[in-house]
């Protein structure tokens, strides 16, 4: 039979990789038909909420729950004393520390959970909270990590041994009672020598402020303990449902098969929903105690003040170079403020995440990094905005150091980057701090970006602007922000990446139905990334069935294969690879079935888009749809019925997406108001699965980057009060504040990934923050500015101008 449909048409009809397929999720999201945790309503469901401390550091003298118990609708008030017999008043953190579930004798940060009020509804719970009487004895508050390392005040008495000795922490010896760990990478002495002997050394200290991703949906859960069959079901805003199941089992003693964790639709995660929070534990306990389902949902202030923050890194660097601008060495020290508990979610062997990617995109032969983690009276976390991996901090650090070095050398910062990029032919490239970059072509991306924005023209315009400013013709300055970033994503190889001993592989299980449609389940969970769309596209290309005929399901631990979840841009690099590999297993079996049906040898058929054809005789073929049916209705000698596969993928290496960003900004010197005139973003995330989704991810990530660079912060006063606990003061940009983004790309596939894809979700944040910040700093460079700290909100920009005498 003659095939009427062209090969191109067959490819198009699959909507496979490379197609800007519309997001299948959007039909329900845009119609208000999503199903979020707070949409879950069960018969007899109760509501729990926390009494939180107004003090950042205090001893708890007493807690009186009597009046609260009298509030109509209040059923129980849990305190640490109630959890202690169960061993649940403390819980392990993902970083190897432990954390109070409810205040055990003291509190360590404002907003810390003190008691859990369980009531018939959230209104009664709120009224009950008001009636819990807690007597506090205030203790000295430390919000500065440098002060913490000097202070006699002990924040964590539980970590001090007999007679004031300091037992080792999870990451080795501790220097002081408020010290958590020291982590080193690279060569200390050789780096010091290079710096001592260098032609030019630029030195700078910078503070990457504490911030928060503020997902639209806050954190929450519903715990339902079925006392009849002993099964616990836990719905929650979990970015890593399987890891949560294991953690819940380990700390509660409930066998893992009796726990079902379900992540329904999640309204944004950004790392904020990776960790285990006291709300989860208390809801589970409350459900066990009451025998009823218990819901806990944070309000906005709870979310901003207590759940996983990002950053809070004080970084000091030295960068050495020859007179010509060739970088010879880099040194970095970080004082990392982790808050009251170390609740980061870094891989076990990396207490400062992948901060050792801080040599960036440059061929720096010698480098040394040292990070000191410190306790303070601030909220724990350090997970969000890819904070556990610390890549954003690393890229900010190196991209600022490059700018400062350019000032020191009196050189153009674009040229300085060009001189120092790792060259295409150097890949795979082993960096001084240990990582093996899989692939890259930085020069091509850089030249493309500079050409697209007419970099030379911009510099000429800027020079004219400076002249006009000096002549009193304008009060506006122009900044050109450059950034070139290398990401490290797809954690990660089990040999060096685990969390709580769980290897960071991921998984996919596929079932092909007899009529040629399919369901695939993954160990990841979308929080808006569009997995149901893109993973179906990967499979469509791999197994030749239309993406529209493939259901993607995630988030239910009873049905999905084990995986470590979605964060750190790991879904495509790891679960995407598992998907492709599982697809290839399907294809391998399909090949045998096809050969049998076509009555030829297995090796005589080959895959072609949506079918197997007899080699050399393409008119003889069996479509995947036909093969699927045959798998279920034919007795094929030597082949089991059915068409299913599962793959657990342990990546051989990380992937290293990269990109080149340019921001053009006008700054009103008198008011400190910046105006982003242009933003150009070139991303290379390897093979592009769905260009439209990539563009959406880039727009979203850049907007977060803009927020962080220009105003978003979790600020504390000296008493440890959070000053930015509502959206009035916590900066969330709207369409009004956001510029028009221009996106672009190059494609350098990952050589070790089955489909060459690298991950893109976090790139724009990683690369965007330094780009916006560099634009602000660059505007003031002609007037002697070297570095000012973010966030560059109006008054800080104004202060930069003021300090440079531009208002005189």
């Amino acid at each position: 039979m003659k095939d009427e449909v062209t090969r191109e048409e067959r490819i198009d009809s699959l909507k496979g990789m490379g197609c800007s397929r519309k997001r299948v999720e959007d039909a329900r999201f845009t119609q208000g038909k999503g199903n979020y945790v707070d949409d879950i309503k069960l018969d007899g469901m109760l509501f729990g909420d926390f009494v939180r401390t107004p003090y950042a550091h205090a001893r708890i003298v007493s807690i009186n729950t009597e009046e609260a118990m009298k509030v109509p609708g209040v059923l129980a008030v849990l305190t640490a004393a109630d959890l202690e017999p169960l061993g649940l008043h403390w819980m392990p953190t993902l970083a190897g520390d432990k954390q109070m579930v409810l205040a055990d004798g003291k509190v360590l940060f404002q907003g810390q959970e003190v008691a859990f009020v369980v009531a018939e509804d959230r209104y009664a719970a709120a009224d009950g909270i008001e009636q819990v009487e807690v007597e506090y004895e205030e203790l000295p508050v430390i919000v500065d990590p440098f002060e913490a390392l000097q202070s006699d005040v002990v924040l964590r008495e539980d970590l001090v041994g007999e007679g004031g000795t300091l037992p080792d922490g999870a990451h080795g010896p501790r220097k002081h009672h408020n010290h958590i760990f020291t982590w080193e990478a690279g060569d200390k002495d050789p780096t010091a020598e290079v710096i001592a002997e260098a032609d030019v050394v630029a030195e700078e200290s910078m503070y990457y402020h504490r911030t928060h991703p503020c997902p639209l949906e806050t954190c929450g859960c519903v715990a339902s303990m079925d006392k009849v069959n002993g099964k616990l079901t836990l719905w929650g805003t979990f970015q890593a449902p399987h890891a949560i199941r294991t953690v819940v089992s380990l700390i509660s003693g409930i066998e893992e098969h009796n726990i079902r964790v379900i992540s329904p639709d999640i309204g944004g995660g950004f790392g904020n929903k990776v960790g285990a929070y006291p709300g989860y534990v208390c809801s589970v306990v409350a459900s066990i105690v009451t025998g009823k389902p218990v819901k806990w949902i944070e309000d906005r202030m709870d979310n901003l003040m207590t759940t996983a923050f990002a950053r809070d890194y004080h970084m000091t660097g030295k960068i050495a170079a020859t007179k010509e601008g060739k970088i010879t060495g880099l040194q970095c020290h970080v004082t990392a403020d982790h808050g009251g508990f170390d609740a980061c979610a870094d891989p076990t062997k990396f207490p400062a995440g992948f901060m050792n990617i801080c040599t960036g995109s440059y061929d720096i032969p010698t480098a040394y990094l040292e990070v000191d983690g410190v306790y303070t009276n601030k909220a724990p976390g350090g997970v969000s905005y890819r904070c556990s991996f610390r890549v954003t901090e690393a890229v900010y650090f190196i991209e600022r150091m490059i700018e400062v070095l350019a000032i020191e050398l009196n050189m153009d910062a674009a040229e300085l980057r060009r001189i120092n990029f790792i060259k295409k032919e150097q890949f795979p490239y082993t960096a001084a701090l240990g990582w093996e970059y899989d692939s890259g072509d930085y020069h091509t991306a850089w030249e493309k970006a500079l050409k697209a924005v007419d970099y030379e023209g911009l510099r000429a315009e800027q020079a004219q602007r400076v002249a006009d400013f000096k002549a009193g013709k304008t009060r506006s300055l122009m900044g050109i922000g450059l950034s070139f970033f290398t990401e490290i994503v797809g954690a990660g190889p089990v040999k060096n990446c685990d969390i709580l001993g769980l290897g960071m592989f991921d998984s996919c299980e596929i079932r092909i139905h007899p009529t040629g449609s399919a369901i695939a389940r993954l160990g990841t969970i979308s929080q808006g990334q569009g997995h149901a769309t893109t993973f179906a596209q990967i499979l469509a290309s791999e197994i030749g069935l239309p993406a529209d005929s493939i259901t993607i399901e995630e988030g239910d631990t009873d049905t999905a294969p084990y995986g470590l979840g979605t964060y750190g841009s790991r879904s495509t690099p790891v679960a995407g690879a598992a998907t492709a590999m599982a697809g290839r297993k399907i294809r391998a079996k399909a090949q045998m079935i096809a050969a049998y049906l076509l009555e030829v040898h297995d090796n005589d058929v080959e895959f072609d888009v949506d079918r197997f054809v007899v080699k050399g005789a393409p008119e003889q073929f069996k479509t995947m749809k036909e093969i699927a049916f045959a798998a279920y209705n034919q007795a094929i000698p030597g082949i089991e019925p059915g068409l299913e596969a599962v793959s657990y993928y342990d990546p051989p290496n990380m992937t290293y997406p990269f990109g080149a960003y340019v921001c053009v900004m006008d700054i009103d010197v008198d008011t400190g108001v910046p105006d982003i005139r242009r933003f150009y973003a070139l991303d290379d995330c390897g093979t592009r699965i769905n260009p439209m989704i990539i563009e959406g991810q880039v727009h979203g990530g850049l907007t977060e980057a803009l927020a962080v660079a220009l105003g978003q912060e979790i600020a504390y006063d000296d008493m440890g009060n959070v000053k930015t606990g509502t959206l009035m003061d916590f900066f969330l940009p709207t369409a009004w504040e956001v510029p028009n983004y221009e996106t672009d790309h190059t494609v350098t596939p990952s050589p070790h990934h089955p489909i060459g894809a690298k991950g893109v979700g976090e790139s724009p944040h990683v690369g965007g923050v330094p780009c916006f910040s560099n634009a602000v700093q660059d505007a003031f460079r002609p007037f002697g500015n070297r570095h000012t700290n973010m966030p560059h909100d109006h008054w800080r920009i104004w202060k930069t101008a003021n300090d440079l005498g531009l208002h005189d």
Binding site: D127, E130, D299, T734, E737, D793, H794, W798, K799, N802
Partner: protein, 284 residues
């Protein structure tokens, strides 16, 4: 963010409102658009056991423009101000200012009466009304009285309005000359870092009248008579601008907050006022 329990009333006439206010005294509050009051209740910063909704009370709506002036009912929303073309022709500064308040959703609910009665120094309309020399009409158990906007504000959340009084309307003399409402804020939906309302009258090249009020730079709006006076009789040249901003600086008393320290706010107040005067002058 759940408010304490409260009783909700929805009277249909003013007598009903006033008798509830008399009955519950301090424990009662009227609610207009609710977009300042409800957030305060949810934060449990305002304790309102008796909440009296004004939505069903007659006689508080409508915009009337006459030869003597403009009357805006207390329940007129900020969106209605923006959408009313006749009002914008008669007093264009109202639209310019209203467009800089919050966002469309808030403006669809928030009212003129609520904005001026609230007493929050961050609200934009109190300064605006002082600039326009508006009069607020109040009704209470003892009848009706008028209070000039320039004499209404005593301290943050403290106004000349008695606990048992309701604001029914704002009356504005028809403004003349050029106008400008200039506001610096951190983002859409933010209160002012500094804002200036300016009405200015030009005769030939000379300024013959000028009215200036500043927002969020003290615990009340600041009507700066001296700043206006500094412009009158001048050609609004650089020296006059300097004199006006200097005079304004003497009247404001900003405090530090997340928007920035005092020095910054004073500086921005000067910049914002200069720009407002320049724009108003160009339109005069």
């Amino acid at each position: 963010m759940i408010p304490a329990a409260f009783a909700y009333y929805r009277p249909t006439d003013m007598a009903g409102v006033i008798s509830l206010l008399q009955e519950h005294g301090d424990d009662a509050r009227v609610m207009a658009g609710g977009h300042s009051l409800i957030p305060m209740m949810k934060l449990r910063m305002a304790d309102v056991p008796h909440l009296i909704d004004l939505q069903a009370v007659g006689g508080l709506s409508g915009i009337a423009i006459g030869s003597g002036g403009i009357r805006i009912g207390a329940m007129v929303t900020q969106s209605e101000i923006i959408d009313d073309d006749a009002l914008s022709a008669a007093a264009p500064i109202l639209r310019e200012a209203a467009l800089q308040i919050a966002d469309p959703q808030v403006r669809n609910m928030g009212t003129v009466g609520g904005n001026v009665a609230n007493g929050d120094p961050g609200n934009d309309m109190p300064g605006l009304m002082q600039c326009l020399d508006a009069t607020f009409s109040l009704i209470g158990p003892d009848g009706v009285r008028d209070v000039p906007a320039r004499a209404f504000y005593e301290a943050a959340y403290m106004t000349a309005r008695g606990d048992e009084e309701v604001l029914t309307a704002v009356t504005i003399p028809l403004p003349a000359g050029g106008y400008a409402y200039e506001k610096q804020k951190r983002k859409i939906g933010d209160y002012a870092t500094a804002a200036a309302a300016v009405q200015i009258v030009k005769d030939g090249d000379i300024c013959t009248a000028a009215s200036i009020a500043m927002t969020n730079l003290s615990d009340t709006p600041i009507f700066s008579e001296a700043a206006g006076a500094a412009l009158i009789g001048t050609s609004v040249d650089d020296a006059a601008l300097q004199a006006a901003t200097d005079a304004m600086q003497g009247d404001i008393d900003p405090s530090e907050d997340n928007r920035g320290p005092v020095a910054f706010k004073k500086h921005v107040a000067g910049v914002v006022l200069r720009r407002a005067i320049a724009r108003a002058w160009s339109r005069a």
